[in-house]
Symmetry: C2
Subunit: 464 residues, 2 copies
């Protein structure tokens, strides 16, 4: 399976046709989210870095051509015009970590039409999945209100690859660590985890298990205390820690039951045993809602480990995102059918302090005290700079989330920020729509016009 053939078949059939018709003029596709999923006040842009890796390496090789031919049941020679096709276009995109809203392009590709089309499926896959998971993880960080959050999702993500991304995306929004060894070492994220219930059960009792664990792990240890009876488990853990003179850096973990009540009881028992510096880790089906509840009631939990629900973004596992042709050969285009209207033309997003973003045409001037969100990250098929790091993305997220209105940041029934549309973009949309409608007016079908208002006619207008 090459990344090139990891594509919907229709990208290939369309590219074949474009090449045959010699339609190689520059096309711009805009990737954006139509509507935020229910319960989301914002999204965190993510997936750009793997997407750029894909584009930089994109090249149709002989074996790809053969796979295309096999899928289409066509002779290999019919697919040979695709051989050697590489991505040589420009990419303007929102760097990872920025907070984004509905309708804002996350990425715009401008390239010869066949190239821009062929990369659609993979780009959507990367940006949708990663933005979805980063956005869910971001909510956990907000819920924990400064307490460390750790990623335990690997066992439930949709495959090992998604597990690695979940670890990266958690770090990107400020998680303190991950249980995933491969992700931790590859990305420089602290690794976290000590023992499962099975470990306790393999010994005659909890005390034997804790002591054995401490023998092979001389540093800080975390004892899982809820295998049989939690309070008793805490007492045994406290006794072993005290006996061994351990404390600072050590912790107990609660993985089931009433975490609020159990954490209070555990804290009291630990404090009474002189182990005020032993921390309490909570896990077990946690998400932003349960974390927020525990924080609100003042449960003395020091670290939250989130897994399943966060790694698969359980309540919003996909985005209503589109990769739409907005310009071809200098002509702005749009789709009109049903409610799925898309605005034509290449775009830019202007972020303003204390005011909603403006979605504008890409060459409109940036208003005062605003900054453009889309950067040119690839030119002629090459990155314009070194790969971005998750640490840089984390800094962007921190800054953006701090600037968010509380109504967009809150967990329950958030109100998202709705970007405003610049006057120039509004005018262009109206003009292109009028042109398309005219073409479908009865009696005018024969007189199909290729013309449409050009964006330049409207460029002097400022953001509305």
């Amino acid at each position: 399976m090459s990344d090139v053939t990891t594509t919907d078949l229709y990208e290939v059939t369309m590219a074949m046709s474009y090449l045959r018709e010699d339609m190689r003029a520059p096309a711009t596709f805009s990737l954006f989210v139509r509507d935020l999923p229910p319960g989301r006040g914002f999204l965190v842009a993510a997936g750009l870095e793997p997407a750029l890796d894909f584009l930089a390496d994109y090249r149709v090789e002989q074996e790809d051509v053969e796979e295309f031919a096999a899928a289409l049941h066509r002779p290999v020679r019919e697919l040979e015009p695709l051989l050697g096709l590489a991505f040589q276009g420009e990419v303007r995109a929102v760097p990872e970590g920025h907070v984004v809203f509905s309708g804002e392009p996350l990425l715009e590709v401008t390239a010869p039409l066949p190239q821009a089309q062929l990369v659609e499926t993979y780009l959507l896959n990367q940006l949708c999945h990663q933005t979805v998971v980063a956005s869910k993880a971001a909510r956990c960080v907000l819920a924990a209100a400064g307490r460390p959050v750790v990623d335990f999702s690997l066992r439930r993500t949709h495959g090992p690859w998604a597990g690695r991304q979940a670890a990266r995306l958690g770090a990107l929004v400020g998680f303190a660590g991950t249980s995933n060894v491969a992700a931790a070492t590859a990305l420089g994220i602290p690794a976290s985890g000590t023992m499962a219930h099975s470990y306790i059960e393999a010994f005659a009792g909890e005390e034997e298990a804790f002591r054995a664990f401490a023998r092979s792990h001389p540093g800080p240890v975390t004892f899982l205390v809820d295998t049989y009876e939690t309070e008793e488990g805490v007492r045994i853990a406290a006794r072993v820690l005290r006996d061994l003179g351990r404390g600072p850096g050590c912790a107990i973990r609660l993985d089931s039951g009433d975490l609020d009540a159990l954490s209070r009881r555990a804290r009291a028992l630990l404090d009474a045993a002189g182990l005020a510096d032993v921390r309490i880790v909570a896990s077990g089906g946690l998400d932003e809602y349960s974390v927020a509840r525990l924080v609100r009631t003042g449960a003395p939990i020091d670290v939250y480990a989130v897994g399943t629900r966060v790694g698969v973004a359980a309540d919003a596992p996909y985005l209503d995102a589109a990769y739409k042709l907005v310009e071809y050969d200098g002509r702005p285009v749009m789709k009109l059918s049903s409610a799925k209207v898309t605005a034509p033309g290449r775009k830019q997003v202007h972020r303003r302090a204390g005011k909603p973003d403006v979605i504008a045409l890409w060459r409109e001037e940036t208003p005062d005290a605003a900054r453009p969100l889309l950067r040119t990250v690839m030119r002629d098929g090459h990155r314009t700079g070194p790969p971005d790091s998750w640490q840089a993305a984390r800094d962007r997220f921190r800054e953006d989330v701090t600037a968010l209105p509380g109504s967009a940041r809150r967990l329950h029934d958030p109100e998202s920020v709705h970007p405003v549309i610049s006057r120039a973009l509004e005018e262009l949309t109206a003009n292109v729509r009028a042109d398309i409608e005219a073409r479908f007016r009865p009696g005018r079908l024969a007189a199909v016009s290729r013309t449409a208002a050009t964006p330049s006619s409207a460029l002097s207008a400022g953001p509305s």
Copy 2:
């Protein structure tokens, strides 16, 4: 990222301790789903084949040891006892495609404790994800009631790897094809797809687009008709198909709007144009619920393409599955904390015609007219036979789903089948529980007993 380090850190810390304590006795872990997700009447076992590939190849290499050491901030020499560790155990499992219910082991691993522990995370990841997606896809096949269903999910799955699995799992439950080229060619699944809205928009109009497409694709074509105004799109498609003398094997695709009304109108227009053999494909946010609705109202749709919601199993994207130690060194074990009680001992599932399954101890006799569901698929770390195919799994699914009671098969508020527990397993569970509770009775804490009822004492009892 090796498959060996794609693991939760705690598997490594536990294995280190087991090796230090010389705890290498055989352990059995049972992987099962506690409760079906809401809205599910059954699950389709899946993920075993990639899991067995993982186990067969499992071997801790020098670079894995170095990664473990880095994650733990320990000297490499402390991890060296793990070097060369391979999986040499036995696996008994439910072959892919079988319908399964809550509490039934999908897989049981018996191996020296460190080996059986180290593979936990990866096995859970594979079986959970794939069972979830296969079970969702199965519901689409039921909803379509014999009409072909095609997988269009690649752009929304959680990464490219999950996209490939979605294609495989769709085929496994009877999908007719996939849009995913790599998956289609690697797995021998028909590939499906022709054009996107962007293709239409790149031309002056729909007619130009359809004609150009037909020029490069001499075989059957599918025209997407809803870019501007759907009825007009159908008329243009019909005109082009008639002009070109195409028809058999060709189709139009509806991707938005009121699919029921539009498909009826399209059918009428096509029939009136003498194109009764041109089929109608529907797509656009479909899942089992919307497909069932369209089938029920008699919409003349010939093929259903499902994507997003199915590829991520949107309404149930994870399973409450566990990988639990049930036996160590011949001693049955269980976890008692909170509501998460697990039954001890190695198990077998007996499937009976017309009656609920029986979950029994593994050496109980199979009742008359029943067959055991778990097969020995790996022994001494080697597969017991050639890899299974998705075609064989599909046959199993077909047989099992046909035998399901209608109440478990229905889409809305299904009633799952609850397996019964054999008397021997019930007795063992009661005995082990009593033993554990005795150990935690006040005043008896010092007298921890290692004994528990042995399974052999109860083995003569038949299924209750």
